[in-house]
């Protein structure tokens, strides 16, 4: 038995999206494999297929030499797979013991009563093995992320674990804590436990892994040997996507006056001293990794979250924006990243959603909503944006993702914004709708709307932006000229900073 598991030719689609296309992944016992790729490359999907969370449409999975199909995560657990998620899956109100033994409790012989002494002894043994000190009586939510993560690992060790999947395990760890985690990983490896290590921190990947598998757009992009290959080669594998299928915008050569400027916006821990300006008709792309503070910055600008410091200027005049209502009044529209949870009122109609931010414009006698005005506005946006609906009373929950997104765009265009902040405007919509949205964004800029485009899809940022602001750990890392920027320059600005913080 050479491999612990082999996945061959895995295909997985979601409505409108091909998430995985003919993907292979095999891991040997005791091997630490890095799994890398841009946001949306299919890393998490692949791991969820392996763990039985998703069902794949084609391809085979062999576990210890024999074909398997895990139907639930419990099946995968029983076989010896443990996942340690980015968001920790624990009960913060319970103590480490209760968390550790949740679902695998030890009982006093022949009784329904918990065998606390046995649980306690086992837990102490595990924690000693992992080299950590844990207060068994404190609730786990009060503990550091690093300790919580160690407890998750201990949980995995309670079972006969053969494969540990760690998704961004170091994202909120200090250097010291990361070093501690790596020590544990090496010990587990020596015991023959395989580890899949998903991370955006390239220097850590180079330090801890034996081999790196790179995914790109749901396909295998290649493999890296960290002992031989360079970090540049890894980055080029991650981003080497063809731009040809995408809409490309001609850059705006004669941008107007500066209309918008932020100075030193700060709201620790996610946003630190962010400053930039925006000209009339300009598209400013905002790139960065998930967690770089892009959404948080946008929410502070529009007053959805409080900022500790920082000023916002429109046409050179400082404006005080304390709530989204102030932002709408100032002519700033913010299209949130999570359509269903932050932008739409799903049980309401297209009409009701579309006019949600412009009640003032469709009112009669200062309080009544005029059905006539409302219908006229709705119909005109349905027509100009080509929103596919049966009629304006259709409930938005029943629309496709692309059409829902158009409703959200229409809702904000109806406010006639001068500054439009788009947060992941094409997330989860199909290719055709994506191109339409791109054309729409470009058209708005041509009409003189200034746009801040936050996107994790680099080709999208590159295709549309006049300038590109790269954020890294809450700070502006670089502002690149759209014409000169490439996926490589953006990614190295977004990623490589960690290389300076040497891991002990």
């Amino acid at each position: 038995m050479e491999y612990l598991f082999e996945m061959r030719g895995i295909n997985k689609s979601f409505p409108g999206v091909r998430a995985l296309n003919n993907v292979d992944l095999a891991v040997k016992p005791g091997e630490v494999v890095g799994l890398l790729g841009e946001n949306g490359a299919g890393k998490s999907t692949l791991m969820k297929v392996l763990a039985g969370v998703y069902k794949h449409e084609a391809g085979t999975v062999e576990w210890q030499g024999s074909p398997v199909k895990f139907h639930t995560i419990q099946d995968a657990n029983k076989a010896g797979i443990s996942l340690i998620f980015q968001e920790l899956n624990n009960c913060p109100n319970l103590n480490p013991l209760d968390n550790l033994f949740l679902g695998r409790e030890r009982f006093l012989k022949g009784s329904p009563f918990l065998n606390y002494p046995a649980q306690r002894a086992k837990a102490l043994e595990l924690f000693e093995y992992l080299g950590i000190q844990v207060d068994l009586d404190q609730s786990i939510g009060m503990m550091s992320t690093a300790i919580q993560q160690m407890i998750e690992i201990a949980k995995a060790l309670l079972t006969d674990v053969k494969l540990l999947i760690m998704d961004e395990p170091t994202s909120s760890l200090s250097n010291k804590e990361t070093a501690m985690l790596f020590k544990v990983i090496r010990e587990l490896k020596a015991k023959g436990i395989s580890i899949i290590f998903i991370s955006h921190k390239l220097n850590e990947v180079f330090e801890i892994t034996d081999r790196v598998v790179v995914l790109r757009d749901g396909e295998n992009a290649g493999e890296i040997d960290p002992k031989v290959d360079s970090m540049d080669r890894l980055i080029s594998l991650m981003v080497g996507r063809e731009l040809s299928t995408l809409f490309t915008r001609r850059q705006n050569d004669n941008l107007g006056e500066e209309v918008f400027r932020v100075e030193g916006i700060s709201g620790p821990p996610m946003v630190k001293e962010v400053s930039f300006n925006l000209k009339k008709g300009e598209i400013l792309g905002v790139a960065g990794l998930i967690g770089a503070g892009r959404t948080e910055m946008a929410r502070m600008i529009i007053g959805a979250d409080p900022k500790v410091r920082g000023k916002v200027f429109i046409d050179g005049q400082q404006v005080k924006i304390k709530s989204p209502a102030d932002a709408v009044k100032a002519g700033i529209a913010y299209l949130p990243e999570d359509r269903k949870h932050q932008a739409l009122i799903l049980p309401m109609s297209v009409r009701e959603n579309l006019t949600m931010a412009i009640h003032g414009l469709v009112m009669r006698l200062g309080m009544f909503i005029s059905a006539g005005k409302e219908n006229a506005v709705t119909d005109s946006y349905i027509a100009t944006l080509g929103i596919k609906v049966s009629d304006r009373e259709q409930i938005v929950n029943n629309l496709s993702g692309g059409n829902q997104q158009k409703v959200v765009i229409a809702k904000w265009l109806a406010t006639k914004p001068r500054i439009l902040i788009l947060d992941e405007p094409t997330r989860g919509i199909d290719v055709a709708a994506k191109a339409e949205v791109h054309r729409m964004i470009s058209g708005l800029a041509d009409q003189g709307v200034s746009i801040i485009l936050i996107s994790s899809e680099l080709p999208e940022v590159l295709a549309l932006s006049d300038r590109i602001l790269v954020m890294h750990e809450g700070r502006v890392k670089a502002i690149l000229n759209g014409a000169d920027a490439s996926q490589e320059t953006i990614m190295s600005a977004a990623l490589v900073a960690e290389a300076e913080e040497v891991v002990a």
Binding site: L344, I345, P347, E352, K388, V389, N398
Partner: protein, 329 residues
Amino acid sequence: MEITVGDSVPVRASSSRSLITRIIQSKESAIFLALIIIMGVIYSVAPKFMSTSNLFLVSRQVSFVAIVAFGELFVILTGGIDLSVGSIMALAGMVSAYAMSTGHSIPMAVAAGLIIGSAMGAVNGGLISYVLIPPFIVTLGMLSLASGLVLGLTKGWPITNIPPAFLPVASGAFLGLPIPVWIAGGLAIIAHVALTYTAFGRRTFAIGGNEQATFLSGINVKKIKFMLYVISALAASIAGIILVARFNSAQADTGKGWELDAIAAAVIGGTSLAGGSGSILGVVIGACIMGAIKNGLVLMRVSSYWQTAVIGIIIVLAAGLDRLKAKRS
């Protein structure tokens, strides 16, 4: 650009459909049918149910519950809850009765009751919207506080000496219908118009549908939620003051348990406790169903002890049917 017609079916009635289809497809049609059946069953067992004098009494009683439930509906539509309505009824009634019994004019006395009651609602709304304490806790506290105020100030004694001129507010009739029915009807129309045709109403539903999205749309969610608790308290105060006329006195235990009746009327009327859906018409029908059943049980000589049990079953049944309907569609 041409508007392409999708194949999914709109859930809500569009204006192109006939009035009859719209009535049949409306959310309230099922519970209205239930009301008719319940009334039919009661009538067949106790024919006295349909007598003019009985219907007069029942409709008056239903009006009181309905008025409180209208206010409760506004709060529930945003996913909130107001447990203090019963106590606020008692407090507002007590204040008005005290003012009347001490020689103040009726309009002054009514205004005093409404202001004090609404002020309690403002306290609820302020703590919920701006201090971010959960509605359940705040209004549970207010339930206790307001009823404690009433008991403390009256030492449990009723306030009598209500001027006779005030009594017709509850006992009088106009065009054969009790005055409280007219009051409830007027309030129902105002509430319905506010919920259906004003920006305030739209925003109330929107908060219940998705509070975060409503906030990000530039709507002052805190202010609206604050106002809703004032509205709820105001409605309760109106009911409480009319009840003073009904009993010709202010009783310290008036309104006890009415929060549950109000919530029940809303739930039976198809209001979702999660917020975002419900209607005044539904609440009216819900209050009628409760009133009919309570009265029917009395006429059928079922002990009053059993009434609460039956109401309990009806509430769960109504919510269960709603759940089934939602699952099917």
